[in-house]
């Protein structure tokens, strides 16, 4: 655990402005030259209930939320209604203080709002005693009073930021700039007053005996603070997507909203519709008529998309779907991440169905692979799915602005122009052989669009002849099936030979111990591998994105090169490890699993501990919150 980093946790009730305040503060830290990584923890409700956002900031690269935290700004839950300990959501006023203490590091700082959190409640926590044990520095401040005096009670967030800046010895400049961008008039003035007042008061009232100060850093190029949802939405825009249809569901809604808000300016169409079956069916309809279209949902909504997904595959309508996983089964934990929908996304829909599935592991990959998803879907006329989760959806990290400086790719792939259609194969009736299997390349038969001259055909979800008529002819069936399924092999070949790898490697290349992960667990694993190597172990890591067609060659090479591997994923049934075994048909005796499914993402230290337990070869489990699953035959 490095000491040169700040992990600032702002805690309160939902609706207390935790999110917007943290966004601004994260940006201010980024502007001051630091790398930042945010983590959001919130309940499935609008007002009240314990919620927090953590911002990890350091002068070096940060890939995960880190372990624990070292600064707590506890605002209290101003919407708390139920004082019972065992209440449904457990929403007492003091929870934003009491719920957080176990993870606070030694030497950490606590600022709490004594305007909202009463002295007796604090006394019940034995805060003084615990502070002494852990060398915590506690600063009770009347943030509510301060805010009320100069503005309105809700502005106590600003007071909290002012106190934070004072205690960390930060300049206020970036915070002021961001406030000026976001507000104006009286509201801005009150907030600025509160910011300065809280800053000065803190400086005057307290001697700073703590060691924690804002880290220092600098960026060589301009940085942008983005979430995974932003990255997916922007990847779609640059991939030429101009149609989105959806039904709101956490956490997919962010992508839907971002595109919807941008489309009027860039000539796209967004539709909020009656259900997810309609949402995916609309995307199919728009794509069929010639627009690059996408839809998406989270697990429960994606379940409804199963039939339009199959329709897109059978009619060879290009389509991109995104699936942001949350903890299941059923509605599960709506605001908590899990990697439990992998098998569902790979195999949903009837028949020998096939689709392309990418699982990006961070913001840059989310952008890249969404672009790639559009490219592949339109080139190969196949549904392509981006599977990610609540964690990647909501976490914000800084990205080099120049990363995004590239040209869009709006092309419609293997779609013919009217000129090209004249030369294309037609049958005796004059109908276009849209599903021609005779000279299809890579399984792809080029398509026409409704309204084009000379391109008339029927698209149907039934098995069909080259012009699209329903057909149960056995020979045609086999030709068409082989052609459609054959696309996956062609795509695998293209991904292996013509594209940069979607897989991410890290650690010591020569190591004989490997850690494999996928999706948003990548950051924690990457950091764990780094730490292990720094502390004298020899470990390497692989984060896999190509789920279907599976990154067979790369994963095989990796597993062959190690004696033992631990597969890290956020689910209870080791779905990804199962996929590896299914796809490769071996390595069952080499792989153990480190699983976490309590609603919180991995922290790097948990992965480190998992490795240690595994290596020690002892019959024990690391902690209550993660689980080791032994290798086959063990």
């Amino acid at each position: 655990m490095s000491d040169d980093e700040l992990i600032w946790r702002i805690a309160g009730g939902s609706g207390d402005g935790i999110d917007s305040t943290s966004q601004n503060f994260a940006k201010a830290l980024m502007r001051s030259g630091l790398d930042v990584f945010t983590h959001r923890h919130y309940p499935s409700r609008i007002r009240g209930g314990h919620t927090y956002v953590e911002i990890r900031a350091a002068g070096h690269e940060v890939q995960s939320r880190g372990d624990g935290y070292n600064f707590l700004l506890s605002l209290g839950d101003s919407f708390a209604r139920n004082p019972q300990e065992e209440a449904y959501y457990g929403n007492e006023e003091i929870k934003p203080l009491s719920e957080n203490l176990d993870d606070l590091r030694e030497g950490g700082i606590i600022v709490y709002d004594e305007g909202l959190i009463s002295e007796e409640d604090v006394a019940d926590l034995d805060l003084e005693e615990r502070a002494e044990e852990n060398d915590w520095h506690v600063f009770p401040m009347d943030l509510r009073g301060l805010a009320k005096e100069h503005g309105r009670e809700v502005m106590r967030n600003t007071a909290g930021v002012g106190v934070t800046a004072a205690l960390l010895d930060m300049e206020l400049e970036h915070i002021e700039d961001l406030m000026s961008d976001a507000m104006s008039g009286d509201v801005l003035e009150s907030n600025l007053e509160i910011l300065h007042e809280s800053y000065e008061t803190t400086k005057e009232e307290y001697d700073f005996e703590h060691d924690l100060r804002a880290p220092e850093g600098s960026h060589e190029t301009e940085q942008a603070l983005l979430s995974g949802s932003n990255a997916i939405a922007y990847g779609a825009i640059d991939g030429g997507c101009r149609f989105i249809s959806g039904y709101p569901m956490t956490p997919w809604t962010d992508v839907f909203t971002i595109l919807t808000q941008n489309f009027p300016d860039i000539g796209g169409v967004s539709e909020q519709v009656e259900d997810e079956i309609a949402a995916a069916a609309l995307a199919v309809g728009a794509s069929h008529a010639g627009v690059k279209a996408m839809s998406g949902s989270s697990g429960g909504g994606f379940a409804l998309m199963s039939e339009p997904l199959g329709l897109a595959e059978m009619t060879e309508t290009p389509l991109v779907l995104v699936e942001s996983m949350r903890a299941g089964p059923s509605t599960g934990m709506p605001t908590k991440p899990e990697q439990g929908d992998l098998e569902f996304v790979l195999y949903t829909s009837q028949g020998d169905s096939s689709r392309v599935v990418f699982a990006p592991g961070n913001i840059e990959e989310a952008y890249e692979q969404t672009r790639l998803a559009f490219d592949i879907a339109w080139e190969y006329q196949i549904p392509t799915i981006i599977i990610y989760d609540q964690k990647l959806s909501g976490e914000n990290t800084n990205v080099d602005v120049e990363f995004f400086d590239r040209e869009p790719e709006p092309g419609l792939g293997s779609t013919l122009t009217e000129e090209e259609l004249k030369e294309a194969a037609h049958d005796n009736s004059g109908k276009f052989k849209r599903f021609n299997y005779e000279d299809a390349e890579n399984g792809v038969a080029p398509r026409s669009l409704p309204g084009q001259k000379g391109g008339r055909y029927l698209a149907t979800g039934n098995e069909h002849s080259p012009v699209g008529h329903i057909s149960e002819d056995p020979d045609n069936r086999v030709f068409q099936m082989d052609r459609r399924i054959g696309k996956l092999d062609a795509i695998r070949e293209e991904l292996d030979e013509e594209r940069p790898s979607n897989q991410t490697y890290f650690g010591d290349e020569t190591a004989e111990y490997g850690i494999i992960t996928w999706g948003s667990s990548q950051g924690a694993v990457q950091e764990a591998v780094q730490r292990l190597n720094e502390s004298g172990h020899s470990v390497k890591g692989l984060s896999v994105s190509d789920m279907m067609p599976f990154a067979e060659a790369e994963v095989t090479d990796f597993l062959e090169s190690v004696d033992e591997a631990m597969v890290v994923e956020m689910n209870a049934t080791a779905q990804f490890r199962g996929l590896i075994q299914k796809e490769l048909g071996r390595f069952g005796d080499k792989m153990t699993s480190l699983l976490k499914y309590n609603g919180n993402p991995f922290e790097p230290a948990e992965v480190v501990e998992g490795y240690e337990v595994n290596l020690a070869d002892e019959d024990r489990q690391p902690t209550a919150q993660v689980r080791i699953e032994p290798a086959a035959g063990d």
């Binding site: 000539g267 169409v269 069916a281 008529a289 329903i470």
Partner: protein, 311 residues
């Protein structure tokens, strides 16, 4: 230059153009009412000046779903109940296409009921023809949402305990701006109504009564029908919502007693279509989005230009 030259082409159009010149031959049973829908579409499309290539027919599942197999336009044969969402989006992607959706009473009023209500509510500019034979045909004769109460079938052996759905009233309440009922046994009226529905700007719902000689021999579609506009017994203004509602209600009552009334029930030319509404609030570009992909001069915005808000 348009990438879709078949759209808006002006020429004499022969109805034979809409008949596939080689297989497939319809698989409908002899005497099936579905032939009537096919025929009236083939007659109406040239009449309203549509070429086969500018028409997209989107169908669901069932006997009705095979309509576009036997009608030579661009076609999309979708899945049970989902013709409307597919059709809606095709129209939004390329508003210049003539989009016609079709399905049966099980497909459209049953499994696709949710889509039907919302498509009507939003008044999408598409034509929706429902082959209503009061039975599930292709799955061999089960009770459908429009089967009369007491109807006996393999899935309702003691006679259906369910009150039949009222398609016309439902559509009116949901917001459709053109609602008519016609029947396969009256080809002249059917052709006229289909033509009007195609020309209507907004959601045009045609409840098309089609007899099922195999599974629903008792259906009342065989009895003589009365045109509600032409009968002196039924005097109402088709543009008046209340009067239309009353007429529909009355009609739907007597339909189950053996009297078949057909004709136009509601025509609202003033209600803007969804395309217009969406354009008015700035959510739909003036030019078809589909055209843009073929325009070499089109400017494609980059996410890079959106990054200011994140820095």
């Amino acid at each position: 230059m348009s990438a879709f030259n078949a759209i808006g082409e002006e020429r004499e159009i022969d109805r034979d153009e809409f008949t596939p010149s080689v297989e497939p031959q319809p698989t409908w049973c002899p005497g099936c009412g579905d032939f009537g829908v096919l025929k009236s579409l083939k007659q109406a499309l040239p009449e309203v000046g549509k070429t086969p290539e500018e028409v997209l027919t989107v169908t669901g599942i069932g006997c009705s779903g095979k309509l576009n197999s036997y009608l030579d336009t661009y076609g999309f044969h979708t899945i049970h109940g989902r013709s409307l969402p597919v059709a809606r989006a095709a129209k939004l992607a390329n508003p210049e296409l003539e989009v016609i959706a079709a399905g049966g009473d099980g497909d459209g009023y049953g499994i696709g009921g949710n889509h039907w209500i919302h498509t009507a509510r939003e008044n999408h500019d598409i034509t929706y023809i429902v082959f209503n034979n009061e039975i599930f045909g292709l799955t061999k004769g089960q009770t459908s949402p429009t089967s009369p109460k007491g109807h006996k079938s393999k899935t309702q052996p003691s006679g259906s305990a369910k009150t039949p759905l009222r398609p016309l009233s439902m559509s009116l309440n949901a917001g459709a701006s053109y609602i008519a009922r016609t029947a396969a046994v009256n080809p002249n009226q059917a052709k006229e109504i289909i033509a009007e529905a195609i020309e209507h700007d907004g959601f045009a719902h045609v409840d098309f009564l089609t007899q099922c000689p195999t599974w629903n021999k008792d259906a009342r579609q065989y009895v003589p029908y009365i045109d509600v506009q032409e009968s002196d017994d039924y005097d109402f203004d088709v543009t008046d919502r209340r009067e239309a509602a009353e007429m529909m209600y009355e009609t739907e009552d007597v339909l189950n007693e053996g009297t078949v009334l057909t004709g136009r029930y509601y025509v609202d030319e003033d209600r803007p279509s969804y395309l217009e509404e969406k354009r008015a609030v700035g959510e739909l570009p003036d030019e078809p989005v589909a055209e843009r992909y073929f325009d070499e001069d089109a400017e494609w915005e980059r996410s890079y230009d959106l990054l200011d808000r994140h820095t």
